[in-house]
């Protein structure tokens, strides 16, 4: 340290310096000054907090620009983050040259500017500025200032706490929509993340000393720059926030921030791959390999949290806050207490300060062991309650579930036992750079593998839908997987991946001297390579593996499993929706609690208690997903038709689920209506007097419902053709419907269901989640039979039947299984792939939290469908005019 401090120069030069010099000496001295100014700082010297260097400025700004490019290209996080990062980059470039006394006020201004920038431009479109968003931003500032003001009221501390609780209750009533508010729902997650925990920490500190911080420090603490785009925010300690401010060489602090931001990006990239590729549902566990997959991967989803926390603290470093790490190699914890110390360190510190230490001191008169056990267990109870408190403020609902409670309590017991052991027998500690013996290191590595496995088990339990479902997956312990991979091989791989780094960590090594230049060089080179690979023009040329991996990473939406569950309303019935899944959290965090229920909760639906499970209520109307929906006398979302087609009419019946029904669009905007209109515009040239397109689609329908409605209703309308629409991810819905139909007995109208139940010997009265998993083995057979039945039934009546692939706007995968089975069953298979080409899929959604296509999406579908029908007149002779070549149109 300090070896090259001579190169660290003060950029601002006093005026007298110039006035007292001759021209020659001025030039000479100025050239020396600039040469030094342009040089890089050689080391991190805490005494040189005011050093400035143009090259260092370029180096930091360049790396930050690379990071922004990476976030933008890989779509890591939301557009709001890109906006905040651009504000941060512009602000940092100025901030760097400001005298220290102006930096904190400038940071506060920048933080407010970021809030305004994000609220004025919510959504995927960069050019859609909504200045009414500034009113929301102003409300956040106003409410925040009132809350801070309450802590400083000139009354006794107890009364101030009471006033805070009162204000909190008022806000809670507004959060639950008991009180109308002049601000929009977007305010809540941001306001909550700024104040729900920091206000507790702040009040705790203020109890001791109210005058200890400046106004800028207080405002900076609550309105921290990155907070507006990260509702899940680390609980930064007020004391640490203040004491870490420029407590070391500033270039060191800035560069540390840049390093952490890139590290956070790596976490998020790994998270995306795990989320899109590897995580599987309990229902998909059928053998040992899938069981291991189910157990191991959910824990790795936590990379999302550690990644965002790295980025948050990294951004704060850029403005001088030399905060400690939020996570420290938590996959390499060698004990449960070690795990608690390494994962979400800020949370641990918060709980220790607010709950654990005060309780321990209160209980210690009963003995150390009693105090330790009581304080630890109560600290975990507090953690569980505070997680629910957090969830309430962010989402507006409570998430008390058995899984969640048991997870925290099991962890509490494990940590308590571990802590008691450590209290009695001690724990091996090392000074920085110290190393364990080979024997000790091997023991530590072994323990690390064991802790990793237990935490994985616990995490999979936490994220399972229900306790019985989690236990049921272990029925597959004795079932071998189909491939060459064996469970032993997987376990050896896991042991190596965790054990080798744990061994290296335990063996330690010499502390490497920090070098600003080395850090800049390594981060910049790696960042540049990452940005280059992120460019489609580059990664498309690196082979299919890289291209596919990049597609996974660049997919910021739900994976196919969550999408399917979301669409069928599965999560509506779970109070813990999103609590353990950050992607779902984003979706549900934005969604209003009322007015966006599934179709099955609307008065448009009547339940049959049989198959199909629902029908639309004839001659009814209701508001559904923001639009008025009308149902005709036949129970279709369509205009009125005679039951039998008039002479010279070609009639098409459309079947499918919510996308075809037109969830979220007006009656006249559905693609079914637009197609009918288009067909009739050219009817004069077709030889038909009229085209009828009848919409039999109903939201939440599965293939089993569709088979039943075709048999019971569609064919009686004498269609010439049936168009069956399907998108990916509908098979789990079919299984779920079959389970319900088996349990209420309605499925037994079909002999193929009865055969499967008899063959499998499954207990039909068991937990639905368990039964779903059992039936998953029969999904291909079920779908094949259902498709075949549809085709046979239709052909028997002389009706042509087509299976049409209609992708969702955000669909990343196509339903290969369904497509193959449809072709084998005898459907005419048509494909609407590419229907949304040229559009940003996020602009085609009904709402950010609802993945159904909007009016533009339906228009595109109608156009594409018409085009595909024109091209396939050999299969479906609708007598359409031949489409001109694409170039001519």
């Amino acid at each position: 340290m300090g070896g090259g401090t001579s190169s660290l120069r003060i950029f601002r030069v006093p005026q007298s310096y110039f006035l007292s010099m001759s021209a020659g000496s001025w030039l000479r001295r100025a050239s020396v000054h600039w040469a030094k100014t342009l040089s890089l700082p050689w080391s991190a010297d805490p005494t040189e907090t005011e050093s400035r260097s143009i090259l260092a400025w370029f180096a930091i700004a360049g790396q930050l620009a690379l990071f922004i490019a990476l976030v933008y290209l890989l779509r890591l996080e939301t557009n709001a983050l890109v906006r905040v990062l651009l504000v941060a980059l512009a602000g940092w470039c100025v901030h760097y040259f400001l005298p220290q006394r102006y930096r904190l006020p400038f940071f506060v201004l920048l933080s407010f500017a970021a809030i305004a920038a994000v609220f004025a431009n919510l959504g995927p479109n960069w050019h859609h500025w909504r200045f009414e968003g500034l009113i929301d931003a102003a409300w956040i500032a106003a409410i925040g200032l009132v809350l801070i003001g309450i802590v400083h009221l000139p009354i006794a501390f107890g009364w101030r706490v009471l006033a805070l609780v009162g204000a909190g209750c008022g806000l809670a009533a507004a959060r639950m929509d008991w009180i109308a508010t002049p601000w929009t729902r977007a305010v809540w997650p941001v306001l909550a993340s700024m104040f729900m925990f920091r206000l507790i920490v702040y009040a705790y500190e203020m109890r001791r000393d109210q005058r200890m911080a400046t106004v800028s420090e207080r405002l900076a603490y609550f309105f921290m720059l990155p907070n507006v785009c990260f509702p899940l925010f680390p609980v930064v300690d007020f004391r640490t926030f203040r004491s870490s401010y420029y407590n070391a060489d500033r270039h060191y602090i800035y560069q540390t921030g840049i390093q952490w931001m890139f590290r956070g990006a790596v976490h998020l990239i790994c998270y995306r791959i795990v989320y899109q590729r590897f995580v599987i549902d309990a229902a998909d566990v059928h053998n040992q390999i899938e069981l291991l997959q189910f157990i191991i991967w959910p824990f790795l989803l936590y990379l999302k949290v550690s990644g965002t926390f790295h980025i948050i603290t990294g951004i704060l470093h850029l403005f001088g806050f030399n905060l400690p790490e939020t996570h420290n190699l938590y996959f390499l914890s060698s004990s449960f207490t070690d795990f608690w110390r390494r994962i979400n360190i800020y949370w641990k510190d918060f709980i220790m300060k607010i709950v654990y230490y005060p309780l321990y001191f209160r209980f210690r008169r009963w003995g150390e062991s009693v105090a330790l056990v009581s304080a630890t267990l109560l600290a975990f109870v507090a953690t569980w309650l505070l997680h629910n408190y957090q969830w309430f403020w962010l989402r507006g609902t409570w998430v008390f579930t058995w899984n969640d409670f048991l997870f925290w309590m099991i962890l509490a017991v494990l940590v308590t036992i571990n802590a008691l052991y450590e209290m009695r027998h001690g724990r091996t500690r090392r000074l920085r750079g110290g190393a364990l013996s080979w024997n000790g290191a091997l023991q530590t590595a072994g323990r690390t593998i064991g802790v990793f496995v237990v935490i994985c088990l616990l995490w999979s339990f936490w994220s399972a839908s229900s306790v019985p479902q989690w236990f049921s997956v272990f029925d597959t312990v004795g079932v071998k997987g189909p491939g060459k991979t064996t469970p032993a091989l997987v376990l050896v791989a896991v042991a190596a991946i965790i054990g080798i780094p744990a061994l290296a960590l335990a063996r330690g090594g010499a502390d490497r001297q920090y070098s600003f230049q080395r850090s800049v060089a390594s981060v910049a080179v790696c960042g540049l390579i990452a940005v280059c690979i992120s460019l489609p023009v580059v990664h498309d040329r690196l082979g299919e593996t890289v291209s596919t991996a990049m597609a996974d990473i660049r997919t910021p939406n739900l994976n196919s499993r969550d999408n399917a569950n979301l669409e069928r309303g599965y999560y509506e019935n779970l109070v813990n929706v999103g609590a353990f899944n950050p992607e779902l959290w984003i979706v549900y965090g934005q969604r209003p609690p009322d007015g966006w229920e599934g179709l099955n909760e609307s008065p448009l639906i009547e339940f049959t208690g049989a198959l199909p499970t629902t029908y639309l209520r004839p001659i009814s109307q209701a508001d559904f997903k923001g639009t008025r929906v009308h149902i005709n006398r036949w129970g279709m979302r369509d205009k009125d038709y005679e039951k039998l087609p008039s002479p010279g009419t070609l009639r098409i019946a459309i079947v499918g689920s919510s996308h075809v029904f037109g969830a979220g669009v007006a009656d006249e905007e559905t693609f079914e209506g637009l197609l009918e209109q288009r067909l009739n515009e050219q009817a004069a040239d077709s030889g038909y007097r009229h085209y009828d397109v009848l919409n039999f689609a109903i939201g939440d329908y599965s293939s089993l419902d569709i088979l039943a409605i075709i048999e019971d209703r569609v064919l009686s309308f004498k269609p010439n053709y049936i168009f069956y629409f399907e998108h990916s991810g509908l098979v789990p819905r079919m299984i779920e419907k079959v389970v319900k139909a088996i349990q209420n007995g309605s499925a037994y109208r079909y002999d193929f269901v009865r055969d499967i139940v008899r063959e499998s010997g499954i207990d039909t009265s068991t937990d639905p989640d368990v039964l779903t998993r059992e039936l998953k083995r029969y999904e291909e057979r079920l779908l094949r039979v259902i498709y075949s039945r549809i085709v046979e039934t239709a052909k028997r009546e002389g009706v042509g039947v087509s299976w049409i692939y209609l992708p969702r706007p955000d669909e990343g995968t196509s339903p290969e299984l369904e497509r193959r089975l449809a072709a084998e069953a005898g459907f005419n298979v048509l494909d609407l792939s590419g229907v949304y080409d040229g559009y940003d899929w996020r602009t085609l959604l009904v709402a950010p939290w609802d993945k159904h296509p909007n009016a533009t999406g339906h228009r595109l579908i109608a156009e594409k469908l018409y085009e595909v029908l024109q091209q396939h007149q050999d299969l479906i002779p609708l007598n359409l005019a031949v489409a001109p070549p694409k170039e001519d149109r």
Binding site: Y357, P358, A419
Partner: protein, 86 residues
């Protein structure tokens, strides 16, 4: 009890309790005890109990902060200030 005595006492305790086998010269007055993971919550509570007993002071839970306990030097200053205030 003067600052040197407190430092010696704190260093001996930390070496014996938490760093057995460590060479004494590696633990300096400025070694970061909390930041480097030597003083975790359990160790902090053990150290506090020891300081209270040996130095005749009473430590409150909100005093268990890095400013007071992150190094041997800070521990000595903290204990001295507590002794002065009692």
């Amino acid at each position: 009890m003067n600052a040197i005595q407190i430092r010696t006492m704190a260093r001996d305790f930390i070496l014996n309790e938490f760093l057995p086998g460590e060479r004494p010269e590696n633990l300096t007055d400025s070694t970061e005890l909390i930041t480097d993971g030597i003083l975790d919550s359990l160790a902090t509570l053990k150290l506090v109990a020891y300081l209270e007993k040996s130095c005749g002071i009473e430590i409150a839970p909100d005093e268990l902060v890095p400013e007071n306990l992150n190094s041997i030097a800070q521990i000595a200053n903290f204990v001295q200030s507590k002794q002065a205030s009692t």
